[in-house]
């Protein structure tokens, strides 16, 4: 509903604002106030789980901004988002049911106060983390060439978080339709702004080239005017805009944690516009109506069934079949390049974002060579902003795109940890299945190139075990298509694909030594199994990713030179991982060696052994992990070679365990 300021409509005490608009704004502000107060009361009655962060005193921000929105716009908010939620969706019943843990809550009881999702509203409880995601949604709108902008609400405390600056930079550089509304209440939890904010807010916007306007909530008519300018600017395609709204938080940060002096708060209570509305007889009828509505909603929530818990269904099959496999003789990096090329050709929704991936450079490891030429606009160089681009990817994925985000070195994945674990991995489940995030983040792990401690690691284990985040590892016993094609074909969910630096330049294992057969499982992401032609096997070598080549060579040498029959197992999906379907293979031999290049403690090998111990401890026979010592990876080539598990070391361990 577009606002026509200049319409000749009779005014009612306010200048230049249509009465209907005013009513709507007041209604939203009052609804927010009454709901928040009721929620505080419910909290003290012990009827809510967890805590809540009320926006009492700040209601007008949401009430005003949402006046200017179109159906195609999307809103992101934070922990203090009830007002934004109610003003946009009017889903009071869904909100209250959610906070009371009811089945019919907007997120089925999973999200609660800080993690709300309904139609085009999303909130998350991590300060600042949602901003790159919002930028991603804005990017999707731009790519889709549709109407619609993205609004993201942050606080002044959020200005401490680095990820928002990555998002500002990206949004400005790529001219994304993103409106950042900053609710400046001068305090972050218990810490006043003067303690934490360097420089000024305006200069932050100027620094990134964002549009800027400032206003406040004590004169909401003025705020509406400023907001309209900001919204129009973003809609016009001029790029992102920072709308700085001064306001005041009348209540505690959450509950009982207000450290400000009462005199200060009282000053603001007296001049608070919503307090004035509540006291104004002109609005009493509306207030009563809204109180009734809130009461009804609470009663309805109280009498509706509480949400019951059941774990998500596992997708793993309990038994699998095996078929012989042939792998073409091709360098892995070439195979990857062709794979992406094929996929992007077939599916227009696939985009690739990463550092240095455009032609002519084609990526640090040349995986994306030529792709930006073949698919202009869909393969983009990004600034060096790992958190920013992974968040961007999540936003794109929320809008149905299939982004592939390349993190240049696996070691840098830590910079995007929050985006992976607290955002991408959680959206689908915490929003109770209302959204899907078909995001692929791919990165090479591995050492043996002398790159030193922060460029050689295998950090896989730090990303295993986050529910909602699948982790795959490429190896040279299958074509990369075997993993990527299923990922793109179906709704894959957030997936981290670990590639290997050293493996890029090597050939896929096309020829197995005589007597060894390569088989693949019927799993969606196949396990590779190198089977020796023998009735019994002396030892199983288990590994994944970059280890596959060493294990296959070890198996051959163990037979030829050490009189031992070894079979090799390389799973591709290392999380979630269920050892059950592999037990019949593991049962063929009483001895098992698990080889990893990453640190062994609490790693994949430990998980495999724990599962086998729980499921079939009699198979355990003798098992050993071959892992590097607990140390950093030295840069010196010779030291690195001695430190990381080598072929010779693996063979020696296998011979030892079989003695």
């Amino acid at each position: 509903m577009d606002l026509n300021i200049n319409a000749a409509v009779p005014k009612d005490g306010t200048s230049g604002i249509d009465r209907e608009v005013e009513r709507r704004i007041v209604r939203k502000a009052l609804l927010t106030r009454i709901s928040e107060e009721r929620l505080l009361q419910l909290f003290s009655e012990g009827k809510l789980s967890g805590t809540l962060h009320t926006c009492i005193g700040q209601e007008l921000v949401g009430a005003v901004i949402t006046e200017l929105l179109s159906p195609g716009d999307v809103v992101f908010s934070n922990h203090r988002g009830h007002g934004h939620f109610l003003s946009l969706t009017d889903n009071l019943e869904g909100l209250i049911a959610e906070l009371m843990g009811r089945q019919n809550g907007v997120c089925g009881g999973f999200g609660g106060s800080q993690h709300l999702c309904f139609e085009r509203f999303f909130s998350n409880g991590i300060q600042g983390g949602i901003v790159p995601v919002a930028a991603g949604v804005a990017f999707a709108k731009k790519l889709d060439e549709t109407e619609g902008i993205v609004i993201v609400f942050i606080g002044d405390g959020t200005l401490g978080e680095g990820s928002i600056y990555e998002a500002f930079n990206l949004a400005a550089k790529w001219q994304l339709p993103l409106l950042v509304v900053l609710e400046d209440n001068g305090i972050a939890q218990s810490t006043p702004q003067r303690q934490t904010l360097a420089g000024s807010i305006a200069s932050r916007a100027a620094g990134f080239g964002l549009g800027y306007a400032s206003s406040d909530t004590w004169n909401w008519q003025e705020l509406l005017s400023q907001a309209r300018q900001a919204v129009d600017s973003v809609r016009s395609g001029a790029g992102p805009f920072l709308l700085h709204v001064k306001t005041y938080r009348l209540k505690a940060h959450s509950k009982g944690d207000d450290t400000r002096p009462r005199t200060e708060v009282e000053t603001f209570e007296r001049k608070d516009p919503v307090n004035q509305l509540l006291a104004d007889p002109a609005w009493t009828a509306m207030v009563d109506e809204l109180r009734t509505r809130v009461g009804t909603a609470v009663a309805a929530a109280e009498s509706s069934p509480t949400a019951d818990y059941s774990p998500p269904a596992t997708q793993a099959p309990s038994s699998i079949e095996w078929h012989t496999a042939i792998v073409p003789k091709e360098r892995l990096v070439r195979a990857l390049n062709h794979c992406f090329s094929d996929v992007m050709g077939r599916d227009q929704r696939v985009v690739m974002i990463g550092e240095d991936i455009e032609s002519p450079y084609g990526g640090a490891f040349k995986v994306t060579e030529g792709l930006s030429d073949a698919f202009p606009g869909r393969v983009r160089n990004s600034p060096i902003s790992e958190a920013g681009i992974v968040g961007l990817g999540s936003g794109l994925a929320l809008m149905g795109w299939k982004p592939v985000i390349e993190i240049m070195f696996g070691d840098f994945l830590g910079l995007a940890f929050d985006q992976l674990i607290n955002h991408a991995a959680k959206f689908q489940r915490m929003y109770n299945g209302q959204v899907g995030v078909d995001l692929i983040v791919r990165t090479p792990m591995g050492g043996r190139r002398g790159y030193g401690p922060t460029h050689s690691q295998t950090l896989d284990r730090h990303f295993l075990g986050a529910p909602g985040l699948r982790v795959l590892a490429l190896n040279n016993l299958l074509r990369p298509d075997s993993l990527y094609v299923p990922l793109f074909e179906a709704h894959c969910g957030p997936t981290l694909v670990l590639e290997n630096k050293l493996a890029y330049g090597a050939y896929l294992h096309a020829e197995t030594a005589p007597g060894f057969t390569l088989m693949h499982s019927s799993e969606r992401f196949p396990t590779a199994w190198l089977v020796p032609a023998a009735r019994k096997v002396d030892i199983t070598l288990l590994g994944y990713g970059g280890m596959s080549e060493i294990l296959v060579t070890a198996a051959e040498q163990l037979f030829q030179d050490h009189d031992l029959l070894a079979q090799v197992l390389c799973p591709s999906q290392i999380y979630p991982f269920d050892a059950t379907p592999l037990l019949p293979v593991l049962a063929s031999s009483a001895k098992m060696l698990i080889v990893e290049e990453g640190q062994g403690f609490a790693g994949f090998g430990a998980e495999v052994l724990a599962q086998v111990a729980e499921l079939a401890s009699e198979f355990l026979g003798e098992a050993r992990r071959v892992v590097p010592p607990p140390d950093i990876i030295p840069s010196s080539g010779k030291m690195e070679k001695l430190m990381l598990p080598s072929l010779e070391y693996v063979i020696a361990q296998a011979v030892d365990i079989c003695r």
Partner: protein, 436 residues
């Protein structure tokens, strides 16, 4: 319907048994309660019975080491089922599975059944030998074409040995011939090592001529060993410290005379236990010994007759071993070794008691031996309290008196002759000539 026959727990010590003999052939009908198979533990042989009638399929062969609890056979309720089981290409019970047939614990949220080892490669269109296998084949002079034809797939030296039906190589044999020790030998070593552990080992011997007592015992029909055991038994009942053992600052008394008699007829050393030997007479002992020996010959020594000994006796006199040092068994404090030499005059005999000085003393053992000897000698025709007194069979003049009287006469000589009972006797010149 298929019933699984598994190795029962026979005694708490054994986790593995050896399958000695099938009583019912593979593929034939078996009745409930009939003996199925004999398995050997460290102590004895036990017979396993099945509770069901039906058609039997062997899962293991004679000579296999089988873990306790593992399957040894299946009993099918019909001949058709048996035929079907035999015709499947990969009958799982042929796999030598490294794990016993116990259900694996499942997680609460998942139902798991014990997985069978997967068996993919049954067809190998080639034979490829490992380096070590190739060397072995060359050293054995095996024709490579024969191996090639057999299409064995990947073959290690262990696999080659199996194919050629050679015994498995022992670890690090360095080219020397070797053989595995049996379960019972392993157990014997363990028992003796336990006995040797911290014993303060000492031993005492007493010697005497046994010709006389032997003659008596054989005349009585039971033989010398049962006589010794009977006397030993009652003497042990009077001396409870000899049936006790030392454990952590305590002497633990069995207060029971269960004589373990070592029997070795060439099938390995076994101990046959005569329970409450103090209450048995030599006839009884002789009968039981004979039965136990027969059991050993037939490899059927039962568990209850092979365990629970509180004192051990070992007799090597049959080899004319006059004297030896026996080893004390675990959880005992003494052992009696009996030696004798038939080739020597008078059939000298030794009784050696090796004992644990933590429980017994030299005085106790010495006294014990003396009493035992004296009691045995009472059975002898000849008084053994002094040096053997040679007397003329006819006039009973003793040698000393005879030479004193007739020493100066050249024809006065005691002559040895063969008595009608086959023993060597003495006759003086006078009785030889018919005087007196």
């Amino acid at each position: 319907m298929k019933t699984i026959i598994a190795v029962p727990t026979i005694n708490v010590n054994d986790e593995v048994v050896v399958l000695v003999r099938w009583h019912v052939p593979d593929g034939t009908h078996v009745d409930a309660g009939a003996p199925l198979v004999d398995v050997e533990t460290t102590k004895a042989i036990a017979t396993v019975q099945g509770d069901h009638s039906g058609w039997l399929k062997h899962c293991r062969k004679e000579g296999d080491e089988v873990p306790v609890g593992a399957e040894v056979a299946w009993v099918f309720s019909s001949a058709e089922e048996l035929a079907n089981a035999c015709s499947t290409s990969n009958p799982p019970c042929e796999q030598p599975g490294p794990h016993p047939a116990i259900a694996s614990p499942g997680l609460e949220l998942r139902a798991t059944s014990k997985p069978e080892p997967i068996n993919i490669c049954s067809q190998h269109p080639f034979t490829r030998l490992s380096g070590a296998a190739r060397k072995l084949a060359a050293s054995l002079g095996v024709d490579p074409a024969r191996l090639e034809e057999a299409k064995l797939g990947l073959v290690t030296s262990a696999g080659l040995r199996a194919f050629l039906e050679l015994p498995a190589a022992s670890p690090g044999d360095g080219g020397l011939r070797s053989e595995r020790i049996t379960l019972s030998k392993r157990a014997e070593i363990d028992a003796l090592r336990a006995g040797a552990g911290e014993h303060l080992r000492s031993s005492l011997s007493i010697n005497f001529d046994s010709a006389g007592m032997r003659a008596f015992a054989e005349g009585a029909g039971y033989g010398l060993l049962p006589l010794i055991l009977a006397e030993l038994g009652s003497l042990l009942a009077e001396n409870p410290r000899f049936t006790a053992y030392y454990d952590r600052d305590q002497v633990i008394y069995y207060d029971a005379v269960n004589l373990g008699v070592a029997i070795d007829i060439g099938h390995g050393l076994k101990i046959a236990v005569l329970r409450n030997a103090d209450r048995m007479d030599p006839d009884e002992i002789s009968k039981q010994l004979a039965e136990r020996t027969l059991d050993c010959i037939e490899n059927k020594l039962a568990i209850e007759n092979a365990s629970g000994g509180t004192f051990t006796v070992t007799d090597l006199s049959m080899f004319d071993i006059l004297h030896f040092q026996p080893l004390i068994n675990g959880r005992q404090s003494a052992i009696l070794g009996i030696g004798a030499d038939a080739a020597q005059m008078g059939y000298p005999m030794s009784l050696t008691i090796a004992f644990d000085h933590r429980v017994l003393t030299g005085r106790e053992v010495g006294s014990f031996l003396q009493v035992l000897r004296d009691r045995l000698l009472r059975y002898a025709e000849v008084d053994a309290s002094g040096p053997p007194a040679h007397v003329c069979d006819m006039c009973l003049t003793d040698l000393a008196s005879y030479y004193k009287e007739f020493g100066k006469e050249r024809s006065a000589v005691m002559t040895q002759y063969m008595r009608p009972d086959g023993k060597v006797g003495l006759i003086c010149h006078r009785c030889l000539m018919g005087y007196l």
